[in-house]
Amino acid sequence: MQLTTKASWLALLSVLVMAPAHAALNVLACEPEWEALTTELGGDKVKVSSATTALQDPHRVEARPSLIARTRNAQLLVCTGLELEVGWLPVLVQQSGNSRIAPGQPGYFEAGALVPRLDVPARVDRSEGDVHAAGNPHIQQNPHNIALVSVALSKRLAELDPANAAYYGARQKDFAQRWDSAMQKWEKQAAGLKGVAVVEHHKNMEYLMNWLGMHQVGTLEPKPGVEPSAAHLAGLLAQLQRAPARMVLRAGYQDGRASQWLSEHAHIPAVVLPFSVGGDEQSKDLFGLFDSTVQRLLEANK
């Protein structure tokens, strides 16, 4: 009798401890673009969720209890890195008691390390605002970066789940083909955007502009991470009157007031870009994200 009780306790304990370890590979993406990419590459062999949505500023996310729970059960973290998640991810990793996904482990995948980075500061000092020593972390805005990351992410999935290695490889190949032709399409569509001058809210569109040959002539934030001030906006407006820009860009999660003000006073369209998957109606996956981004830019440039 007692033995049975003991056995059932043991069974319960092992269920509690081992529960998340089988079936689909449990992936927690830090940002929705990596959730989408993991879905492209992992199909139904992975169970993936994103810690943030496109409507949240990825710099500033609360280390919520639910995220700690999801981190605890994850077998793979897919994050941008480059200090983007420095304000919350360390808390999740530490409190999760899950060493598999700590930085440096196979369960931690840092996408930002795989791409050529922009805006690597020559000087790191807080008086410059919220600068990232490793470079601008908003790398998902250039589809070539997505292509680079997809190769390495597919390999990582295969490494963690060798039984499905061939499946991940095949899906990556398929994705790469579709992605390449989509990139050609977008580049063709956006050819007219080359050389277009824009103002952006935060320095988070650099990779996009870099890709399409657009260039930034000012930001609404006086320094990265510092809220737009009236004085700074007035100065920006004066500058635009001398050297105009075609549009003012911001991501869906950013407050629209500064951008609207500039739009009205400088008579240029204010463009809200989806920024990540889920950022607007059309951005249901990575393809939709860039379809929508290019389309919105083209409309504003008419």
């Binding site: 409507l55 729970a69 919350w88 409190q95 999760s96 060493s99 922009l118 690597v120």
Partner: protein, 508 residues
């Protein structure tokens, strides 16, 4: 052609790999199988097309690469080795895309002019040879704080009537300008298994103290974390948070009365996170029990035990909560306090229950513009033992003492626009009716122990703070406090809190 491919590989390695050593799989055996011959051919064709298109750009980049290689030959070599150990198909695929992406970057870098801090080189160029010697130094972060206070009542007369004085932090502090506690934290990973942290606290009275000094495990699995050393106990909600992250300048009255401000323990802590979709954390602590409500007892074994459970989850996409239940059990021996010029002391058991809850809300979970926070805690403490009256005097006497006391606070903070927050807090304590043998037998009246006369202290506080960045905060706080019978104190505080050094992540 072959040379071009090598160049592209080197280029991709130099540009993409500086941090990729973390990402390059150690055992590529399984992934190598993926590379089909057909894929290789297709990729090669694609790359050669790209190569031709970007030939001139590549040449320009080659000279830059050579410069970079001259600067750090060893680094480039190791990266190359890393890249070639991967599957050759994906390595060349990467180089193709990298070349395209970088080529796109080149004209942009030129166009943006000298005003911006463009540099498409990878980060490691910043890690110079001289910096390498410092790479293993702990992260340093520092908190500077100070305040100006206007208090209507003399803070030296302050007491929380009905509660045995903790000897710790109670009351609004001193009048006029005050240097707050400056904190210096050093933290680093020790080895693959442990991480450590030391936090000094430097008070305005020129006293240095060890606020926290602990080591913790970092390689355990299954949701387990162990910690040893001096640490802020995990009981309650606010207790485990450093004072500089609090939303008001001072601790709630319940913390001041029951824990002497904040409960720090020298001991060990184990926490376990259940493998559920919902957050359920269980924690257990054993400590020496030297901190109030315990005291130094010169005994073997543990002098204090604490246990806590936290439960939390999201409510939709905009809100999340955490609720907790904690229990602290400790004991005191000749824990002295003075009242009306006499020294008394308590010996006996001390138990404390805390119920805490916090709810945070932000539209779509984006807390940058507006957010709201509601938090409250309820304390219930019991002390059971003997109280020595007027120790070491002729009037000295001893009697049994038992108290059941409670307290709570409720506060809300609303960020109504970026950088600006307003908050409201209400504190309430209930000293209950203590039983004291000497009073019951008629030897003494409560008037001989004015600090223990039954009372219900209360306080209302409002605050407004402005944070120009995540690293600086300026605060105005007004409070109206009735800590003892018949006396109302009006308090005005102005405070600054600044955070220097490494960007420390904040807990929920």
């Amino acid at each position: 052609m072959k040379q071009n491919r090598m160049l592209a590989a080197a280029l991709s390695a130099a540009l993409a790999a500086p941090y990729a050593y973390a990402a390059v799989p150690k055992n590529p055996a399984s992934s190598a199988a993926i590379a089909a011959a057909a894929e290789l051919a297709a990729l090669r064709a694609e790359i050669s097309a790209m190569k031709q298109a970007y030939e001139s750009r590549l040449e320009a980049l080659e000279t830059r690469l050579k410069q970079a290689e001259a600067a750090a030959p060893a680094r480039a070599d190791s990266q190359l080795a890393g890249a070639t150990s991967g599957s050759s198909a994906s390595a060349s695929a990467q180089s193709g895309s990298a070349a395209a992406a970088v080529a796109g970057a080149a004209p942009e870098a030129g166009a943006s002019g000298p005003a911006s801090v463009w540099a498409s080189q990878p980060a490691p160029v910043a890690v110079s040879a001289s910096a390498a010697a410092n790479l293993y130094n702990p992260n340093i972060s520092m908190i500077l704080g100070g305040s100006w206070q206007n208090l209507r009542q003399d803070p030296q007369q302050y007491m929380l009537q009905g509660f045995i004085p903790s000897g710790g932090e109670a009351g609004p502090g001193k009048r006029s300008f005050n240097l707050g506690e400056s904190e210096l934290t050093l933290a680093a990973n020790i080895d693959p298994h442990f991480a450590g942290q030391l936090t000094f606290s430097l008070s305005g009275e020129n006293e240095a103290s060890v606020e926290e000094a602990f080591v913790r495990t970092r390689a355990l699995e299954n949701g387990l974390n162990l910690k040893a050393g001096r640490m802020l106990s995990g009981i309650g909600y606010l207790n485990s948070q450093h004072a500089h992250t609090w939303d008001f300048i001072d601790a709630p009255l319940a913390y001041q009365a029951f824990l002497g401000g904040q409960y720090k323990t020298d001991g060990v802590q184990a926490t376990w996170l259940a493998p559920l979709d919902q957050y359920l954390e269980l924690g257990f602590e054993a400590g020496n029990g030297a901190a109030f409500p315990g005291n130094e007892r010169n005994r073997n074994g543990a002098g204090a035990y604490a246990a806590f459970a936290h439960l939390g989850d999201d409510i939709g996409s905009s809100a999340s909560y955490r609720a907790g239940l904690s229990y602290l059990r400790t004991a005191a021996e000749q824990r002295t306090f003075s009242d009306g010029g006499l020294e008394h002391s308590f010996s006996g058991r001390s138990r404390l229950w805390i119920v805490d809850a916090i709810l945070k809300w932000a539209p779509d979970g984006n807390s940058v513009n507006t957010n709201f926070k509601l938090q409250g805690e309820y304390f219930r403490g019991t002390e059971d033992g003997a109280l020595d009256y007027a120790s070491a005097t002729d009037a000295s006497a001893s009697g049994a003492y038992r108290s059941v006391q409670s307290g709570w606070y409720l506060q809300s903070v609303y960020q109504f626009m970026p950088n600006w927050r307003a908050g409201l807090r209400y504190d309430r304590l209930d000293s209950g009716t203590s039983r004291y043998g000497l009073v019951d037998s008629g030897v003494l009246g409560w008037d001989k122990l004015p600090v223990l006369e039954a009372f219900r202290p209360r306080r209302s506080s409002i605050m407004l703070d402005y944070s120009p960045s995540e690293f600086s905060r300026l605060r105005l706080q007004l409070a109206r406090e009735q800590a003892r019978a018949g006396v109302t104190d009006n308090q005005i505080f102005l405070q600054y809190i600044m955070s220097l050094g490494t960007h420390a992540a904040h807990a929920f």
